[in-house]
């Protein structure tokens, strides 16, 4: 199935050059793919995986390993950030 992976702020560096200007790319993943599996596959450092949203909904750290993704989901990840 296909999902959209979005990496922001310093995590943008983990995207291929072609995806940098949108911070997103389409990914082909297994039907039983979890949030945790994508994070592992992309070798995102745990300390930089802070805010994880699926379709805008926050996924707590303890649920990421088991949270299944669905066709068309948008998985967005930020390192620790703040502003205001």
């Amino acid at each position: 199935m296909q999902i959209t992976l979005k990496l922001f702020a310093s995590l943008s560096d983990y995207l291929p050059d072609t995806a940098r200007r949108t911070n997103s790319l389409l990914l082909e993943v297994a039907d039983d793919c979890t949030v945790g599996a994508v994070i592992e596959e992309w070798a995102l450092p745990p300390r930089m995986v802070h805010l994880v949203l699926v379709n805008g909904e926050f996924i707590p750290p303890e649920q990421r390993a088991d949270r299944r993704l669905r066709e068309g989901d948008a998985l967005a990840i930020w390192p620790p950030i703040a502003g205001g």
């Binding site: 922001f8 310093s10 802070h50 967005a76 703040a82 502003g83 205001g84």
Partner: protein, 615 residues
């Protein structure tokens, strides 16, 4: 006490500058800056006074850590009654002006009355004098700052001044120092303009003394700086991306008010985000962002310095805007962009430059344009009245409206009254996205329930800096809270409001609290100041300040009926995103909030609460 124990009272009507001792009993109760200046203001003016009359006062004030070696210890505040809200107004700014005032040896400058002619205040350490400002009246912030440094042949003079917006009494005019740092909200600049006061020019070479326990202070400051450096937000995230890093996350969460709060997600957000500011432009191959910048003593350095595209329509014939200058910060980018459906980063930066140059609040300006564009699309305001077409998404209209507001020209005069008065004039008050007359910043009170409560109860009208519930509801600081939940929000908000009042009274920047909690701040205050500044003392002081501000507003005629949100937020659900279907559930939170505050069901502090807080 760390402060200098003296204030300068400037009577603009009489033209006098008189030194006074600072009331040390009040210092024990209010510490400095926001707390102490608000105590002076509320003790000296009638709360019902016209904010733009000579009877209002305007106080510039520093905190005990301003000008010290404490990280971010460069803040000052401007406290007055605000013309936009008719409530207490307190603008807080960084840059390098606050430490200069502190180094000149003044804890506070109280302006009263009104000068017959334009003047500015020159402070050179102990010496203070009012001087004619005829040559600077009618000039911008940038011209005034440069002119004052040239006139006094001292490039190290620090200037805090108004531009033409303040002179024209734009109701959301700010006071700008160091070219692009501002006491920006609630119209403090309009009060300054109403007094014919153009600027404060300060040179302080005395440095800071009176640190109660220098050895303990150095140890506490060192420990605090390590926490800031080690924290990924204050040590890495904010320096690199600034506040603008929020643009995408707030939008993804469906919490980004768009097109005057008709929507909660903006399709153009990515194009105006912090990430976009790092990219090379297709037009000239340069990045928008040039560098980050720090205020005095700051080890975070979140400020943005950018260079606008010289080929952009807004500045292609105006080389004076081509240099690197301040912006964009998140709130301004949102207000110019999302609030109006404009995704042109360069147009946003142009508007930001105008706000800095002429001294007006980008949040209130941008949000008021949002109301104008909705009224235009509804056919309530015509092209003839504005002078051009102004649909959502028009970068050209946005830029023209910024120019007209800055100069007080045509439709810009009405726009400069803010969205509440503008929408009332056109018979559509419900389209004003304001609380107590002040425009919302960049978070939707339907999507983030705690922010909705924060806006409704803020003492200076809709504001994110009185209780930043975005921290727990989005960022997970100090804990992650469900944005849709109402449970626990009143208690968390009260804690944030009281703690923020402490930080705003200390001379520190509230951004430290992304890494610090009061346990990191308390040792710095305790070491700097004489007396008891335990956690318990500080927390009670924060609560005292909040209630003092509330009392002033109540006496000014603002009641519990004003602790509310526009009908759009209460009745029109979020249309898209993860918060779709949500409205602001204020009724579920407000009674509990009043109870936690020790207020009556009408939102009035009870006699017991007043006694407990020493009010």
């Amino acid at each position: 006490m760390a402060l200098a124990r003296k204030l300068l009272r400037v009577n603009l009507t009489k033209g006098t500058c008189v030194e006074e001792p600072v009331n040390q009993e009040w210092v024990k109760q209010y510490l400095g800056q926001r707390g102490l200046a608000t105590k002076y203001l509320t003790s000296e003016i009638d709360p019902k006074v016209d904010a733009l009359s000579p009877e209002n006062k305007l106080i510039f004030t520093v905190g005990p850590l301003t000008g010290t070696m404490a990280a971010t210890g460069g803040r000052y505040s401007v406290v007055t009654k605000g013309p936009l809200t008719n409530a207490i107004a307190c603008g807080n700014s960084g840059g390098y002006f606050g430490n200069e005032l502190r180094s000149a040896g003044w804890d506070m400058v109280i302006f009263e009355g009104k000068s017959a002619k334009p003047v500015y205040l020159l402070i050179e350490n102990e010496k203070a004098q009012l001087l004619p400002a005829d040559e600077f009246w009618g000039k911008s912030v940038w011209e005034t700052e440069g002119g004052l440094k040239k006139k006094h042949q001292d490039p190290q003079i620090r200037v805090s001044c108004i531009g033409r917006a303040g002179e024209n009494q734009v109701l959301f005019a700010g006071i700008v120092n160091d070219l692009h740092r501002a006491a920006g909200r609630s119209g403090v600049g309009a009060v300054m303009g109403s007094k014919n006061l153009k600027a404060l020019a300060v040179r302080g070479t005395n440095g800071v003394s009176n640190i109660a326990d220098p050895k303990a202070f150095m140890a506490a400051v060192k420990a605090g700086k390590k926490v800031l450096a080690d924290n990924p937000v204050t040590g890495q995230g904010l320096p690199k991306f600034g506040t603008q890093v929020l643009m995408n996350v707030i939008n993804e969460m469906g919490a980004s008010p768009t097109r005057n709060h008709q929507d909660v997600q903006f399709e153009g957000a990515r194009k105006i985000s912090g990430e976009a500011m790092h990219e090379k432009r297709e037009s000239d191959g340069k990045t928008h962002l040039v560098t980050n910048q720090a205020c005095f003593g700051c080890t975070i350095a979140c400020g943005r310095i950018s260079r606008i595209d010289e080929n952009h329509f807004s500045v292609s014939t105006k080389p004076e805007y081509w240099g690197a200058s301040g912006g964009l910060e998140y709130e301004a980018a949102w207000a110019f962009g999302n609030a109006n459906g404009v995704d042109d980063l360069e147009a946003l930066q142009y508007c930001n430059l105008l706000c800095n140059e002429e001294g007006f609040d980008p949040i209130s300006f941008g949000a008021t344009v949002g109301a104008v564009m909705e009224l235009y699309e509804l056919g309530v305001i015509t092209k003839e009245e504005i002078g051009f077409e102004a649909p959502f998404g028009s970068a050209e209209a946005l830029c023209k409206l910024a120019e007209m507001t800055a100069r007080g020209e045509g439709f810009g005069k009405l726009l400069g009254q803010g969205s509440k008065r503008l929408c009332e004039k056109y018979g559509r008050p419900e389209l004003s996205m304001t609380v107590k007359g002040q425009e919302f910043p960049a978070y939707d009170g339907r999507a983030l329930q705690g922010m909705g409560l924060a806006y409704a109860t803020s003492n200076r009208g809709a504001c994110h800096l009185r209780g930043y519930m975005v921290s727990p509801e989005v960022l997970g600081i100090p804990i992650k809270m469900d944005p849709q939940a109402t449970e626990g929000k009143p208690a968390m908000l009260k804690a944030f409001q009281d703690a923020t009042a402490v930080v705003d009274s200390s001379g520190l920047c509230v951004f430290t609290t992304f890494a610090w909690n009061l346990n990191d701040i308390q040792p710095q205050i305790q070491a700097a100041c004489e007396g008891d500044w335990s956690m318990e003392t500080l927390l009670q002081m924060g609560e005292r300040i909040w209630n003092m501000e509330r009392d002033f507003n109540l006496a000014a005629g603002i009641t519990c009926k004003d602790d509310t949100l526009p009908p759009r937020l209460l009745n029109e659900p979020c249309k898209t995103g993860p918060q779709a279907g949500m409205v602001a559930q204020l009724g579920k939170m407000l009674p509990e909030y009043y109870e936690l505050r020790g207020w009556s069901v009408d939102g009035v502090p009870t006699a017991e609460t007043r006694t407990r807080l020493g009010l």
